[in-house]
């Protein structure tokens, strides 16, 4: 995929040159063979080494648990098929995946033969053109269908195997071992629905990014100095459903005040005891009824990017939304405004577009600007909203069902704890369920009972070792040009980013980090480093959040903090979108913030310039 590139020093190590951390030997066995790099010389290794791979810290910033690896597998397949074979994006095929030391690396595969690119244009025109023309209608259908898939997943039942089959098997002539066959079948249905949901995820996203990128490039050509965030602000929707869970917390806070029960919340008793107290009073019962209305589906909400089973989800950890609700109650009692300034944001969005447009002179340019902006705005609600259906709602149900299977496996002695199921990959889980079902039928113990518990322990240690030993941010030689829209828009892989990775790889004792200026403003304050979703509860009022990446369910935290700094993320990343919405300075894609910055350090975050300074350590 590389054109001539002679700056030989601009290079990262190859995968086979990266050592396995001591204690993580054999990590490869946790993933299917096709999903790891080759260490042995040969044509597979040669091909892998000819590409530029970068770590997808944005979605998979932690070591991949074997079962959680189904998510990147699902999106590799889905994203790629729309690019390469459905819409036939002329210069781009899909995005290839490999795991190294438990971390996911990805690389966009371009189409380099100009004749081949030309041949693909006709297909793209016809197919993508159809989607753009019918965008809103297709998106309306999309929402209905995505919800259908989620609900179908939700309807799958997982029951442990009985001693004897129900007699209806006999009297209804069912002709199968209903309990074991259903368990085995529903697991595979669950996997297929998960893949199916991910196919929906990318149905419109690739085209959405392409349309956005077209407006983006036009702006950059006419106004070379325009900050990325101005382009995003001209396009961004004001009311994405990703903000809905947070809106529900605000609503419930107002309800609590209206019902005169806010003192119960202010005692911060935790979810269980708060509910207990609320049940004692009539207005408390009324509030609990309101809570139930909000829960489905708005609390099916991940506190991370949604790709890790370790991210608490609101519905399973109601202390999280309750904390946010209580914060809002306190704000309301201090007479602070908790409404999002949507009108103001809408006005600002129009003004910004109007002002840029007024700088143009050529009537053709003005027309191009208007058309590009209009299309970007048309596609954008999809770009913003699709995550809720898949990574939040869908994945919450996926994890719920997987844990149901986990507790069955515990009963059969395959694993000791439900959570251990995540140390098996999805192909292995299919084998294990066969083992359980078939040997249940035979009437003996499953063989896995004498294999998996020890194997899970081994894998647990590998994951922990890899968590402490993050491999390089990229592998191989950077290409000259990247044509894959996701790589540009979502991961923000640009010249500057690669330089940063290279410089960061060399020197880590720095007091200044640069990244993308994602949201304007300047703030100073103490750092709070949050490495995983569980740690968000540590964030205190007035602190600066430093994280590998943020997720929509952290939104309420954004009303507490002064600014945000992340390791990874482009202008379309969640952090960028939310910080703009909340009017907080943000610098994203610093590469190393979470490694350099420690809790309590005083920082200066300049969201206009994309610079983070450590003022005192």
């Amino acid at each position: 995929m590389f054109r001539d590139f002679d700056m030989s020093e601009r290079k990262f190590p190859h995968a086979y040159e990266v050592a396995t951390p001591k204690g993580a030997e054999g990590w490869e066995t946790m993933y299917p063979q096709f999903y790891t790099f080759s260490r042995e010389p040969g044509s597979k290794r040669d091909w892998e080494s000819s590409l530029f791979w970068f770590q997808d810290g944005m979605h998979h910033g932690e070591p991949l648990y074997p079962l959680d690896a189904i998510h990147p597998m699902a999106w590799q397949w889905a994203l790629s098929s729309y690019n390469s074979r459905t819409f036939v994006v002329p210069p781009a095929l899909g995005i290839a995946h490999r795991v190294l030391n438990c971390y996911l690396y990805i690389t966009p595969i371009p189409v380099l033969d100009p004749k081949e690119v030309e041949r693909r244009v006709g297909y793209f025109m016809k197919r993508a053109g159809y989607y753009y023309q019918n965008w809103n209608k297709i998106f309306d259908e999309w929402k209905v269908n995505a919800e259908k898939i989620v609900k179908e997943m939700e309807g799958l039942e997982f029951r442990d195997l009985p001693e004897f089959e129900d007699e209806e098997v006999v009297f209804k002539h069912m002709g199968l071992s209903k309990s074991s066959y259903t368990l085995y079948e529903n697991y595979h249905k669950l996997v297929l629905l998960h893949f199916r949901l991910w196919q929906k995820h990318f149905e419109m996203l690739n085209l959405g990014y392409a349309a956005y990128l077209t407006f983006y490039m036009f702006c950059k050509e006419k106004f070379p100095g325009i900050p990325d965030q101005h382009i995003a602000r001209m396009v961004a929707g004001i009311e994405s459903i990703l903000f809905r869970p947070d809106q529900e917390c605000r609503r419930l806070a107002r309800e609590a005040l209206k019902l005169g029960i806010s003192d119960i919340f202010l005692r911060r008793l935790g979810y269980e005891r708060t509910v207990e107290e609320l049940r004692k009073v009539e207005n408390g019962m009324k509030w609990l009824a309101e809570l139930e209305k909000s829960k489905y589906p708005w609390f099916y909400y991940a506190t991370g990017p949604g790709f890790f089973h370790t991210e608490p989800r609101w519905i399973d950890n109601p202390d999280i939304p309750l904390g946010f609700i209580t914060d809002y109650i306190e704000k309301l009692m201090r007479n602070e405004d908790i409404e999002l300034p949507t009108e103001k944001l809408r006005r600002e969005r129009e003004e910004l577009a109007q002002r840029y447009k007024s700088l143009l002179k050529d009537p053709q340019d003005i027309k191009t600007f208007e058309e590009n902006l209009q299309l970007a705005r048309t596609v954008f609600p999809y770009v913003e909203d699709h995550n809720f259906y898949v990574e939040h709602w869908g994945h919450t149900i996926w994890y719920k069902k997987i844990r149901e299977i986990g507790s069955i496996l515990v009963n059969h002695g395959i694993i000791r704890n439900v959570e251990d199921i995540f140390y098996l990959n999805w192909f292995e889980l299919s084998q294990v369920l066969y083992d359980v079902c078939a040997n249940w039928a035979v009437g003996v113990e499953p063989a896995g009972k004498y294999y998996w518990p020890a194997e899970v322990e081994r894998r647990r240690k590998i994951i922990e070792t890899c968590r402490q030993n993050r491999p390089p941010p990229a592998l191989g030689k950077p290409p000259e040009v990247i044509t894959e829209p996701f790589t540009i828009m979502l991961w923000g892989v640009t010249k500057d980013r690669i330089e940063q990775w290279l410089s960061g790889a060399v020197q880590k004792a720095v007091n200044k980090l640069s990244g993308l200026p994602a949201s304007p403003g300047v703030a100073e304050g103490r750092a709070r480093v949050v490495l995983s979703a569980e740690e968000i509860v540590k964030v205190k009022e007035g602190e600066i959040l430093v994280a590998p990446i943020t997720a929509p369910a952290w939104n309420p935290v954004f009303t507490k903090i002064k600014a945000t700094v992340t390791d990874i993320g482009g202008i379309m990343s969640h952090t960028a979108i939310v910080c703009r919405e909340y009017g907080l300075p943000a610098v994203v894609g610093t590469g190393f913030a979470t490694q350099v910055i420690k809790d309590g350090m005083r920082l200066r975050v300049d969201g206009n310039e994309g610079v983070v300074e450590i003022l005192e350590g």
Binding site: V89, P90, P91, A92, P110, V117, V121, F124, M125, A128, G129, Y132, A210, A211, L213, T214, M217, F218, E221, K222, F223, P224, G225, I226, P227, H230, L352, R355, Y356, L359, L360, K361, D362, Q364, D365, T368, E371, N372, L375, P478, P479, E480, V481, I482, T483, E484, P485, T487, I488, V493, T494, K495, R497, I498, P520, N608, E609
Partner: protein, 353 residues
């Protein structure tokens, strides 16, 4: 500053502009245009060409000037005559009523600003500023009435400098038709100064103002003796988009009390910016106003006065059009394509890494 006045020979900024160059001269007319564009200029007043004529008449110097017009193809004679005129002017005095009027206006400005600069502003305006540089005189650090009258008379004499006279002859301009207005302008104590472009001169981006700034008077930046601090300010939102603090600002030009300009070494300012972000943002607004007023991108010289606080400390010294090809003056790469072709073109181009 007065909006209008009852003086016979004096005009204030709001009365100066392209419409009355014959009265206030080229330089004052440009300053008046800045004032009309509603940007801050150091306060000034102008002794109009009527004052000059009054002076010449009173001292009976006009016949000598007429004789200049009759000299042809004899530079030696021309220069001898000019010298004679200059000497006569320098020994002449202002008519009482003129001096009285000047005195009143002078004391009004000096009571606020401490010292002023006196600059010539000739009514010959059909040549660019640059080719006039150094032809007429400027006098800085004027503090008393006597110094002021003296400087005004010296300005009058400078209309008959050798170079000015030869130039007028070369372009066939009658000496009797050129008059000298004089600007009395408050003297800014420069903390910092520099230039601002209302378009990015490097890539033609019309959405930003580019500012370069260093310590002291603007000469340090204009002469290239320092690496200035640089700023890129969004014209759309007023944000500082890029900022580079230079560590290489070794010297500065300063105006001393007596009005003389000296070059001195800068104390090592370290990472200090010569123009605060706040000031840069104010300056950006000034750039927008000037570009709007003149209808095209401008190259602006500005100065920050150390005695005042922002935004009252920022003054524009000069603004002239720049000829940079802006990105909006040529068609986009996407022009003429339909939206699908634009998307394909975008995907093909990709992002350089």
């Amino acid at each position: 500053m007065k909006a209008s006045n009852n003086y016979s020979f004096i005009k204030y900024p709001d009365e100066c502009g392209a419409h009355n160059t014959h009265l206030v001269g080229g330089k004052a007319s440009s300053l008046g245009e800045l004032f009309r564009a509603n940007v801050p200029v150091p306060p000034f007043f102008v002794i109009t060409s009527k004052g000059f004529q009054e002076f010449m008449n009173y001292n009976n110097l006009l016949p000598a000037v007429s004789r200049l017009d009759n000299v042809e193809h004899d530079d030696e004679k021309l220069l001898a005559l000019s010298k004679e005129i200059r000497e006569k002017i320098l020994t002449a005095s202002l008519p009482n009523h003129l001096e009285k009027e000047l005195g009143t206006a002078f004391h009004e400005i000096i009571s606020v600003w401490g010292s002023i600069a006196v600059r010539s502003s000739a009514t010959l305006e059909d040549v660019s500023e640059a080719s006039f540089a150094g032809q007429y005189e400027s006098y800085l650090g004027i503090k008393t009435g006597e110094q002021f009258y003296d400087a005004v008379i010296k300005c009058y004499a400078s209309l008959f400098n050798d170079r000015a006279v030869l130039y007028r002859n070369r372009i066939n301009k009658a000496h009797t038709n050129v008059h000298m207005a004089v600007i009395a302008q408050s003297l800014v104590r420069a903390r910092s100064a520099g230039v601002m472009f209302t378009v990015n001169p490097l890539n033609g981006d019309p959405s930003v103002n580019i500012i370069e700034s260093s310590w002291g008077l603007g000469e340090a930046v204009v002469n290239g003796e320092v690496i200035p601090d640089s700023y890129m300010i969004s014209k759309v939102t007023g944000e500082v988009l890029k900022l580079k603090t230079s560590k290489n600002k070794p010297i500065k030009y300063e105006t001393l009390d007596d009005g003389s300009v000296v070059k001195v070494e800068n104390p090592p300012e370290g990472p200090e910016l010569s123009l605060s972000k706040e000031e840069a943002v104010f300056l950006g607004d000034i750039g927008i106003k000037l570009e709007q007023y003149f209808g095209r991108p401008q190259d602006i010289e500005w100065v920050v006065d150390k005695r005042f606080k922002p935004p009252e400390n920022i003054f524009v010294v000069q603004s002239r059009p720049v000829t940079v090809n802006t990105t909006v003056s040529k068609a986009s790469r996407q022009t003429g394509l339909n939206i699908m072709d634009r998307i394909i073109q975008t995907l093909m181009a990709g992002a350089r890494v």
